[in-house]
């Protein structure tokens, strides 16, 4: 019978099995790649926005990678915070409550963001001032091109802000 020929240390068997495994890895790699976001999704990785379109005191919501980004042009009566201010007078934050991920509402009269889920509050800098949120609203990676902000790309201004924080 052939059974005794198949010693476990059989080089040929290992070579064949190993080579089959190489093929399997190749196939798995192709399968892995098919699940990556499609080009049109990847194209949305960055969002460009013209900051000068925001009037003083006004809030605009920009969609970036399917998430809201708050762009607030601050006025002098709002909180100052050099380490969270972009292009001199803007607060640009990811509009997702750092507590449990709800989207806070801007209350223009009180000049705060109020989260409808658990009552968390953030001031005009996006810093948490009341309630359960554990930290300020996150600042998305950005790059400045003149008055245009490119959200989703890390520019020198972003690195500087993060370094300060």
């Amino acid at each position: 019978m052939a059974d005794n020929k198949m010693s476990r240390r059989d080089f040929l068997l290992y070579a064949m099995g190993g080579w089959a495994a190489v093929g399997a890895v190749g196939v798995l790699y192709a399968m892995y790649k098919t699940w990556e976001p499609l080009p049109e999704v990847k194209a949305q990785a960055t969002t460009k926005f013209d900051l000068s379109k925001v009037k003083p005191g006004e809030l605009k919501v920009v969609s970036w990678r399917g998430k809201p980004v708050f762009v607030l042009r601050k006025t002098s009566d709002m909180e100052k915070c050099d380490n969270r201010t972009i292009a001199g007078e803007y607060t640009v934050v990811l509009g997702i409550c750092t507590h449990l991920g709800c989207i806070p509402n801007w209350e223009a009269d009180k000049k705060i963001w109020h989260c409808p889920c658990h009552g968390g509050e953030y001031n005009a800098c996006g810093v948490n001032i009341f309630g359960p949120p554990p930290r300020p609203l996150d600042i998305p990676p950005f790059k400045l091109e003149g008055k245009t902000i490119v959200i989703g790309e890390e520019g020198p201004e972003y690195k500087k802000l993060i370094g300060q924080g």
Binding site: M6, M16, A30, E36, L38, P39
Partner: protein, 398 residues
């Protein structure tokens, strides 16, 4: 048997995996006098596995909607998804090659008499698998929603119109519309990806189980006795499979050559035009594996009803081979008359396949008619050949 570890032992007591393994693999003995044609059964399993895996990945981006289907295939899958084109080419070529492998598998069974007693159940389940695979291929062909997809589905569903009394209503019911439309696409989709593959798997299990019970046929058609099996036979696992690996590798080399470098036979150019229910392409034809049967349908060009009956008969008559051929000799190798009939049949099938794609006019129409008659003559000849052989055996006493 080597000693099993704790877990295998535990499992064996509950599932009898050892016994199952012995029946299905390690103590399933094949005779030595078989050639590589006996490897084609395993090849169909391989191609089926390829179809399932590539199909699952197509399914992740395909949209079964008349508005979206064409673009989801030709733009999203073919252009945007990384390696999406590999999965589509593989699926399309595998569907085509499945039939090549099936035809060879069936022809081997015919030549060596593998349909004869006691293998009727193997033959019947095998025939069912062929019908189910044809249905799967047909429903799948509609999914890209190209011109060829559309008009193939339109014409084939129209065939049901000829069924007496219920025909016209049945066609509308099958389509879910007066023409092939969105409803047709979505129901074909459901059949193609869930219902038919499930049936295929169940029938395959019965097919494989049945062949374990009655044993494999061989070139001479003389079965091994129980004693001979252990001495002369080769166990399916691991010895026969060692040969299979080689056959599979050669097959895959050929298969992937087609996938990457010669795929157009499986992906008709006309299907790169989106389905248009107002314009039929100048030439429509089924995929190559249906051409022979399609030619039988067209062969009786003077009578549509006769053509339809012949078409249905051509697909189903093969099921009755075990009862048409009652000769005591099993293998075609030892049946000179049968051999001649068999090769005429193979040549005729090839002839019909080629003719099936040509326009059915003038000389081609008549050739198609002759080819169709020859197709059925083979099955009519079977009982006659059996009778002659029976009397010969009686005379010579074997």
């Amino acid at each position: 048997m080597e000693k099993k570890g704790g877990f295998m032992n535990w499992l064996d007591r509950r599932l009898a995996v050892d016994a199952l393994w012995r029946i299905m693999m390690s103590e399933y003995y094949l005779p030595k006098n078989i050639n590589f044609l006996w490897s084609f059964g395993v090849l169909t399993m391989l191609v089926f596995a390829i179809l399932v895996v590539s199909g699952i990945f197509l399914l992740m981006y395909y949209k079964p909607d008349a508005e979206l289907a064409f673009d989801s295939v030709n733009k999203t899958i073919m252009m945007d998804v990384a390696f999406g084109w590999v999965f589509r080419h593989t699926h399309a070529v595998a569907a085509s090659i499945m039939f090549l492998v099936l035809f060879i598998h069936i022809a081997r069974g015919m030549y060596y008499g593998s349909y004869k007693a006691p293998r009727e159940v193997v033959w019947i389940t095998g025939f069912l698998l062929f019908v189910l695979m044809s249905a799967t291929a047909f429903t799948g062909y509609l999914l890209p929603w190209g011109q060829m997809s559309y008009w193939a589905a339109q014409t084939i569903t129209t065939l049901f119109e000829k069924i007496p009394f219920i025909g016209p209503d049945l066609v509308i019911w099958i389509r879910g519309n007066y023409i092939v439309a969105d409803a047709t696409l979505t129901r074909f989709f459901a059949l193609h990806v869930v219902f038919l593959p499930l049936l295929l798997i169940v029938v395959t299990a019965v097919h494989l189980y049945a062949v374990r019970i009655v044993g494999s046929n061989n070139e001479d058609g003389i079965p091994m006795t129980k004693e001979e099996k252990k001495v002369k036979g080769i166990p399916f696992w691991p010895v026969f499979m060692a040969k299979e690996y080689f056959v599979m590798s050669v097959f895959l080399l050929f298969f992937f050559y087609l996938v990457f470098f010669n795929y157009s036979f499986a992906m008709d150019p006309i299907n790169f035009q989106p389905a248009d229910y107002l314009q039929t392409p100048p030439h429509i034809y089924p995929e190559w594996y249906f051409l022979a049967f399609y030619e039988v349908l067209r062969g009786f060009f003077f009578s549509q009803n006769l053509g339809l009956i012949a078409f249905v008969a051509s697909m189903f008559i093969i099921l009755f081979m075990p009862w048409l051929d009652t000769s005591p000799i099993v293998s075609g190798k030892r049946r000179p008359l049968y051999k001649i009939a068999f090769w005429i049949f193979i040549a005729d099938f090839l002839f019909l396949t080629i003719l099936g794609k040509l326009p059915p006019t003038g000389l081609y129409a008549w050739l198609g008619f002759v080819g169709s008659i020859v197709f059925f003559l083979f099955f009519i000849a079977l009982p006659i050949i059996s009778k002659i052989e029976k009397s010969q055996v009686e005379r010579t006493g074997r």
